[in-house]
Subunit: 350 residues, 2 copies
């Protein structure tokens, strides 16, 4: 083998300095700091953890060196040793793909996690598997230190499972289980009640509401708020059959178009979702009904969308980013503290 050949082979064996290690110097570890300071790795570790048994002067010197060389602890090593993942899992339901719901939540959550060592992992929940599966998987295999999920049900299996195992979590919406659990909710009772009162005050004589699917707790809250208002005022009412806020918006529009063509047409509509509210408007438009005169609508607003909609629609605002922020904060608090904190918070209708 010639000299050139050997050189050639050498080049092949080490192509171009392992990916990502540009600059020539390897990633700093505790060992690097230990060598630079002349201390033991253990000491460096505890110094960075601000352990009181390490001399103050040592702690400061270690901190100094650490920041100079841009040391960051290896997450994998920490996770392996301590069992803590520094991960928060957001379990996303396929239905949350609609519009801004998930994005607002994510915005709030990342804001809450900002400055902490926690990362946000999106765990999709595919519709062909039971709702509790991703949660169980995360918990069993310790994929995260805490779980965030939404669309809570009255007797939610996920809440039960997580409570049983004392695993940190927070959910958007409440259960109707006896036991207290951490959650953040919006006052959907208040929403529906207020919406109905507004419509009645505007002169509506027959109210119509599209509810979330019955299996969600907040569907009950909305129904209850709606029923309370219509009973107080003694006006006629109707609750959408066959379609829910989760239905395809085309289906909602078709359904409403049919209903608007039948006898005893409702004149006041309540809609707890933005796109479905547009479906209501479209159905009315297709019937040449004038919004704000022939029919009225109160919609729940979760984005700036309805500020651009004409004719103007009365809305009641739910701040999902704020909910996400709050959820993140409460979850971090729960993870930090050893015993379960059963803090709950309901964001009021504005």
């Amino acid at each position: 083998m010639s000299l050139e050949d050997m050189e050639e082979k050498g080049r092949r064996a080490m192509p171009e300095r392992e990916t990502g290690r540009a600059g020539g110097n390897a990633k700093p570890t505790l060992k690097t700091i230990a060598e630079l300071t002349g201390l033991a790795v253990t000491t460096v570790s505890r110094a960075l953890a601000d352990a009181p048994q390490i001399a103050l002067e040592t702690r400061q010197r270690v901190r100094q060196v650490a920041s100079e060389i841009g040391y960051l602890p290896d997450r994998a090593a920490q996770r392996l040793r301590t069992g803590r993942t520094n991960v928060i899992s957001l379990v996303l339901d396929p239905h949350e793909e609609i519009l801004s719901y998930a994005t607002s939540m994510i915005k709030g959550l990342t804001e809450a996690l900002r400055g902490t060592p926690y990362h946000l992992v999106i765990t999709p929940h595919f519709s062909d598997t039971p709702q509790v599966d991703p949660v169980r998987h995360i918990m069993r295999n310790r994929m995260a230190d805490g779980i965030v999920f939404t669309r809570t049900e009255p007797s939610d299996e996920r809440v039960k499972l997580l409570m049983e195992n004392n695993f940190p979590f927070i959910c958007h919406g409440r259960t109707e289980l006896g036991t207290a659990h951490p959650y953040v909710d919006y006052d959907n009772y208040g929403f529906a009640y207020l919406a109905a009162r507004k419509l009645i005050a505007a002169g509506c004589r027959k109210l119509f509401i599209i509810l979330p699917p019955e299996r969600f707790t907040f569907a009950h809250h909305m129904r209850h708020g709606f029923m309370t208002a219509v009973r107080e005022e003694g006006v006629a009412f109707e609750i959408a059959m066959d379609v829910t806020l989760d239905s395809e918006s085309d289906d909602i529009r078709d359904y409403l178009f049919r209903r608007m063509g039948e006898a005893e047409r409702p004149d006041g509509f309540i809609c707890g979702g933005e796109v479905s509210a547009l479906s209501v408007m479209a159905a009315a438009y297709d019937h040449h009904l004038e919004l704000g005169k022939d029919v009225r609508l109160v919609a729940k607003q979760t984005s700036g969308l309805f500020d651009q909609i004409r004719p103007r629609v009365e809305t009641i605002y739910e701040d999902l980013a704020e909910a996400g922020l709050l959820m993140g904060r409460l979850l971090l608090k729960r993870i930090g503290g050893p015993q379960p904190i059963d803090e709950m918070q309901v964001l009021q209708t504005v």
Copy 2:
């Protein structure tokens, strides 16, 4: 020390079975399988990796036992040992909070990652730090095996940095750097061209377009497509000053309302975003201009939103979930293969 005392102490030492270890049996590891099969840990590891040097019969037996006890490899340990994180980072720009953009991307990405060991981590990019910071951080500290980002610029610092370090990534949109790099883009030239042709064909005599901020490559594409069409047809045109697709939608509406009140009012509008398109509609409405008669609008549609909008608006569809799916697939391919694959794909206007 009495016997009771010792027992008491023993109990204290193991308080209540570490959180999450319900059921009494600890989380299975390679060691567990090794003990059950009588093999060495190394052998089990290689058997599960389907190494050819392990006897077929052994491999099958190990697989069997592994699935029986529900073994899952510890990600932290794998990550520590191999340096691979099994994480894909999606860097989210604050502007992507609007409506469905991020959600659609996430949907596509999770679909692509389904069945793979990869997790999706959301890395927020806060607006008070340089755009390249989160990308550099992820790369330097090996927080992920691959990066996804959006809003690509002609001379994008992120692309440069990642290319220099040969770090796997994919972006939504192209650069104008000479070097090829992996990306998925939408044919925004085609969008603007087609939109302009449609408006002209419908009889419009003065076209108006709202572009993305100039710093993004796709702004140039749209401008180019728009300019080509108006020049071909020789119609008058105007490009929005002062507002872009990133502007507050209220600002866009106010701006357009003013413009529509001035002389030589445009009669054909092109809008590359959903909410801003609604702003155009709102401005026209507030001027009592009839859409489809006094003024026309072609909007880019990225969700089902415009199917519910009345009066009906002409739209051109961009499938962001499809883009996300494609990006995920290309990135995984890039991570799998040792040498950079410079695959690029432009999704065509439909």
